[in-house]
Amino acid sequence: MNLTIAEFKKIVSKKYVWVLTLLLVLFYAYLILNIGDNFSVVYSKRALQPVFQEIMDAAYDPQVQEYVIKNEFNVTFDELKPVISPKIAQTIEQYQGKIYKGYDVPKELKDEAALRIESLVERNVTINGMIKELESKPDTPLNRYLLQQYTHMPKMEPNLTRWDDWIDINHSMLPLLIAFVVILGVASVYTGEYTSKMHGILLTTKNGRSKLFWSKLLASCLFAAIVVIIFQSLAALLYMHVYGLPFKNTPMNSLTSFYKMPNTMWALEFYLRQLAGSLLGAIVLTAVTLCISSLCRSNLVSFFISGIYFGLGALYSLSLEGQYITSKVTIFADVSTFSLMSLTDVLGNAKVFIIGSHAIPTIRLTLITQAVIFAAALLLTYVFYNRKEITA
């Protein structure tokens, strides 16, 4: 019998893990599938997708830019119609007379197209304004970093690509669900041995210390990895069903949530990093949960303490998001396991912290901190498990 496989079977053989995981999967699927019925999903972006290039060209047309700026970013489609590609209007006219849930589809599409052109112009103006402002500011490490980032930002695009939605997969809900299931499965790995009174027998066997410790770690990490794969695949499938695949890669700063952030990354790259972050975060959480499990004597206590560890980081991080500077106030949120699993705030916003004359990406600090937490958790688990006094 292979010990790692035996330990893995012990984790997955718990019925409550499967029942609660299944309930969460159904709950998540219900939430996402419900979104699929709204106007934005069914029409606005899909209908305008064929004229993505024309909308983008319009936003970069000096004549259109001048008109939008002159009207203080408040223009209608009909006003823009004479100066933009006729293909946009032709595409919208295909929906003439169509009503969806009380919405006049062509009217809504016209508003959407105008809004996209308008907001794209506004974003370009904002970025250009930031560059000018930074050029006139004192030469501090932060200003130097921001100037460098903003001047190298990829060309802005009219946010029709669905990447807003795909990036949002890992914003908060999915990391929380993954963390819940990981903690649920792993919290009893050591406490289960104590409650079943197996601890004494295990520790007196040849492989019951070091080898069993590594087997339990490998089995728990395997479980966490499978949970990440299941939930990320499920999310990808649901999002593909509801929104469709993002039809074109796009710079992060073209997305609604990130357009002012000094991020030069592209959405696909960010999404792939989120997947890696999700896996790494789940592994760190596994190590921390194992550590707590090795210290506690009750499954429930181990589950709650692990939940508090992750939950506090998540709450703190979500309450402080939307900045691009790591400060003394935000640092504990920025280096949390939740931040690593989500990456939305710490990497999506291209957060930095300043040390001396350098602006260092906060993600590096997050990775280093999580690596230290991982190593410390393993060491403590080994010590707690092997030195736990058997007195009961």
Binding site: M1, A6, I201, T204, T205, K206, N207
Partner: protein
């Protein structure tokens, strides 16, 4: 092979559970006897390395068991007082899991598991989940798991508790067969368990070793100190306050009792040949069963 405890001590707060115990074990069966709370389990836990001593050490051929680590555990078989188990595992799967932990080759392990299940009378229940086992069956699984690696040192904490008389006899016979080439230490507060099989008996009281000798020598120790007397109900109650009382046998309206006392306790008392049970009554003041 020599297993030794040297000044082995364990304190729990202000309470001293095991107090400077020095023992020397070589091949054979050792019975560790004492009332509940005497420190038997604590002593055994330190000897198997799952409870660190407050002071003192346990050595095997001069090397501490901590230094020996996995080498010591490789030749050790341990059955705790309360046998742990996984409710969802079948008996066979449980023993396969422990075989892997003991580093046994899977083919050898499967053969050994069949042998041991047969030995402890659980061959028919090998595919049954442990959650469905009775207390006695769990004890038998506990014995089987301790024997999996054919250990040179076998430490069993209250192995016969919960077994029916037949099972206890069967278990004692197994131990007698096993004792030839190994050290077997078993703790119990049931006198008859050690009387028939233990070469040496260790009497433990309040964490201290009171005596360690053969059954015969221990009996000699209390020769002339065990008395048989016939008393009334009222006299019995009075005597209980003054002397450790052994067997009480009701005969019509009188009681025939065994009393442990350095001097003759009653006029009509007669000195009798002591049994091992009388030794415990004498040493533990009637606390032994």
């Amino acid at each position: 092979m020599q297993l030794r405890t040297q000044n082995l001590t364990k304190n729990f707060g202000n309470r001293c559970a095991v107090d400077h115990v020095n023992l020397n074990f070589e091949r054979g069966v050792y019975g560790l006897l004492g009332p509940n709370g005497a420190g038997k389990t604590t002593l055994m836990r330190m000897m198997v390395g799952i409870l660190p001593p407050s002071s003192g050490k346990v050595t095997l051929d001069g090397v501490t068991i901590g230094e020996l680590g996995a080498k010591y555990r490789d030749i050790l078989g341990y059955m705790p007082q309360e046998v742990g188990y996984y409710r969802d595992f079948t008996a066979k799967r449980f023993l396969q899991y422990l075989s892997a932990l003991k580093g046994l080759d899977p083919k050898y392990a499967n053969r050994r598991i069949d042998e041991l299940l047969d030995l402890v009378g659980l061959a028919d229940g090998k595919n049954k989940k442990l959650g469905q086992f009775s207390g006695g069956m769990i004890r038998r699984i506990g014995i089987a798991q301790a024997l999996l690696n054919d250990p040179r040192i076998l430490i069993l904490d209250e192995p016969t508790a919960g077994l029916d008389p037949n099972e206890r006899i069967h278990f004692r016979n197994i131990l007698s067969e096993l004792s030839e080439e190994r050290i077997v230490i078993l703790s119990t507060h049931i006198v008859s368990d050690v009387q028939s099989i233990a070469g040496q008996v260790i009497l433990l009281k309040e964490g201290k070793v009171v005596n360690c000798d053969t059954t015969e020598n221990l009996r000699h120790m209390v020769e002339g100190k065990v008395w048989l007397a016939t008393v009334t109900h009222g006299e019995l109650n009075e005597l209980k306050k003054r002397f450790p009382i052994g067997n009480v046998l009701q005969k019509d309206d009188h009681f025939e009792i065994r009393i442990a006392s350095d001097s003759k306790p009653l006029q009509n008392a007669t000195a009798v040949e002591p049994s091992l049970e009388d030794v415990f009554i004498y040493v533990f003041g009637g606390q032994a069963e």
